[in-house]
């Protein structure tokens, strides 16, 4: 425009002057029209955040802005049915409407610099304008004119501008809806987290001659790790279990809750006498479900008898299980049976370990051994055995937290990828 003003001041031909002024005026009028259109379209959807409402109002507003016979709009959000709007209502048959506005490569057309397309329907001409909406949503605006109406460049530019503004409004509404959905999910996750925290032992059972410490930290809001105590008030036998369901997040957490309940129930039934039977029965009860979900659970079941100081246990594919005798080196106790949900019959046998004062017995999950640092190194079993060995003089209530801290320190800034659970038992003098 600036160069035209300069031209204006230099020219001496009155005919040319008039032409330039006419051209400038026309440009001004078109620009003003576009601004009015922007304002009106953006006002159309003020205060309404339902997608359908926004589309309806937008279509009605556009009808007032252009001299079209009808305004059509179709939108296809990802994974949802398409919606169509037109004003006047029922101007075109639904099927014809769909065909007319069908523009699958719409965004590519826009990217290549086209405004859209012009299509003929009966005695009408439709200006088909794809909308540029972020993501996978497809939307197309159609302006219907009579065949006799001229579609000149300024009209097309105005229509394109309106389509762009409408696209922006729709994008906003879709984003808003998506964030509402996310907030809803977050709240559900928060609730699931609360439930899960309450399923963990709220207290440690008092057992003569034994210090006990346990903790479980999910990597995400909810996890697949668990530990639990089943105390028997009469004979003071301490039954404990630690498990790890494959997978992460909500589905692992749900399977975890089921597994824990069955294990508890079987432990109570067998009175803590036969940890291997507990695993067998739990496997039978849960096998079909695990198969269905394509999951499995590594489980350790232990049972400490204070009178005999005997620790009986059975292990279905679980690690790390560490035994640190008071007068020896720490070692890993390897499982002998497959995890629950792998084979129809588990093969874990019952093992027994007499504990002496000062002995430490620990059961963790791979949140410890698989913890990864910034250099891609894993904490590993050797490091765990070393660390535990150095802490052997500490009581269980200090050893546990210190080991967890050591793992966190090792991880550094890397976020935890696995749930971390640790149960520490230390035999003390009675």
């Amino acid at each position: 425009m600036g160069s035209n003003l300069q031209a204006l001041s230099k020219t001496i031909d009155p005919q040319e002057d008039l032409q330039v002024i006419e051209d400038l005026t026309e440009e001004l009028v078109h620009t003003r029209d576009q601004l009015v259109a922007l304002y009106q379209v953006s006002q159309a959807s003020r205060g309404c955040w339902q997608v359908e409402q926004v589309l309806e109002r937008t279509v009605e507003t556009i009808e007032r802005l252009v001299s079209a016979r009808a305004v059509l709009l179709s939108i296809q959000p990802e994974d949802q049915d398409s919606l169509t709007f037109q004003t006047p209502q029922n101007f075109l048959d639904q099927e014809i409407l769909g065909q007319v506005l069908f523009c699958p490569q719409g965004k590519n057309l826009l990217a290549a610099g086209h405004f859209g397309a012009v299509r003929s329907v009966a005695s009408l001409r439709v200006l088909v304008l794809p909308l540029d909406i972020r993501g996978t949503t497809e939307a197309t605006l159609g302006l219907v004119f009579g065949k006799e109406q001229q579609l000149k460049s300024p009209e097309i530019k105005l229509a394109r501008a309106i389509a762009d503004y409408a696209g922006a409004q729709i994008e906003n509404v879709l984003l808003f809806q998506a964030s509402l959905e996310l907030t809803r999910l977050e709240t559900e996750m928060d609730l699931a987290y609360q439930v899960q925290r309450r399923l963990l032992p709220q207290q440690v059972p008092v057992t003569p001659g034994l210090q006990i410490w346990g903790a479980s930290r999910p990597a995400h809001r909810v996890g697949g790790d668990f530990y639990d105590f089943v105390a028997n008030a009469e004979d003071l036998v301490l039954n404990f279990l630690v498990g790890d369901v494959s997978g992460k997040g909500l589905s692992a957490a749900m399977v975890m809750a089921m597994t824990r309940t069955i294990l508890r129930s079987e432990i109570q039934d067998t009175q803590g006498e036969n940890p291997q039977v507990v695993l067998q029965r739990a496997n039978s009860a849960l096998y079909e479900d695990f198969l269905e979900q394509n999951m499995f659970a590594t489980v350790f079941v232990g049972s400490y008898h204070p009178q005999s100081r005997l620790l009986a246990f059975a292990n279905a594919g679980h690690s790390p299980v560490v035994y640190l005798p008071v007068d020896g080196a720490a070692r890993l106790l390897e499982p002998d049976g497959t995890p629950l949900g792998i084979l129809r019959q588990t093969l874990s046998v019952k093992q027994s370990l007499p504990l002496q004062t000062g002995d430490i017995f620990m059961v963790g999950t791979d949140g410890i051994t698989e913890a990864e640092n910034e250099n891609g190194e894993r904490y590993g079993i050797d490091r765990m055995l070393d660390t535990v060995h150095q802490m052997k003089h500490l009581p269980a209530e200090r050893l546990g937290p210190q080991l967890v801290d050591d793992v966190k320190l090792f991880r550094g800034h890397r976020a935890a990828a696995d749930d971390l659970t640790l149960l520490v038992l230390k035999a003390i003098s009675t």
Partner: protein
């Protein structure tokens, strides 16, 4: 993760490289589903280029072996590196899977299975 697949004597040989864990398992699954969906599903998974495997990785292999068995075939593993081998041993999944050092051994085992 990188994937290579080739066919030899009616056996699908899948080679994975990198890490088979919760972040890559969704990429690996379609390859495994495809190989184990055939009939008979005779599959060898070469893990010689896999440095790490976690419970999610184990899960997808378990799922795939089951599918192969359902489709009159089997899924065998070969070339496990020490850290990966240890994960199988510690979960005792070395009882569920047949694990071979070399691809040739795995192929021979599948041959025997097919003949028997």
């Amino acid at each position: 993760m990188e994937f290579k697949i080739r066919s030899q004597d009616h056996v699908q040989i899948l080679q994975f490289s990198g890490s088979l864990d919760s972040s890559t398992v969704n990429e690996a699954r379609p390859w495994l589903l495809n190989a184990t969906g055939r009939h008979p599903a005779r599959v060898v998974v070469d893990l010689s280029q896999v440095e790490f495997l976690d419970s999610t990785g184990l899960s997808v292999l378990v799922e795939s072996k089951r599918r192969a068995l359902e489709n009159d075939g089997d899924l065998l593993l070969c070339g496990l590196r020490q850290p990966v081998r240890m994960v199988f041993e510690l979960t005792r999944l070395d009882r569920f899977f047949e694990i071979f050092r070399l691809e040739a051994e795995a192929l021979a085992a599948l041959e025997l299975q097919a003949a028997g």
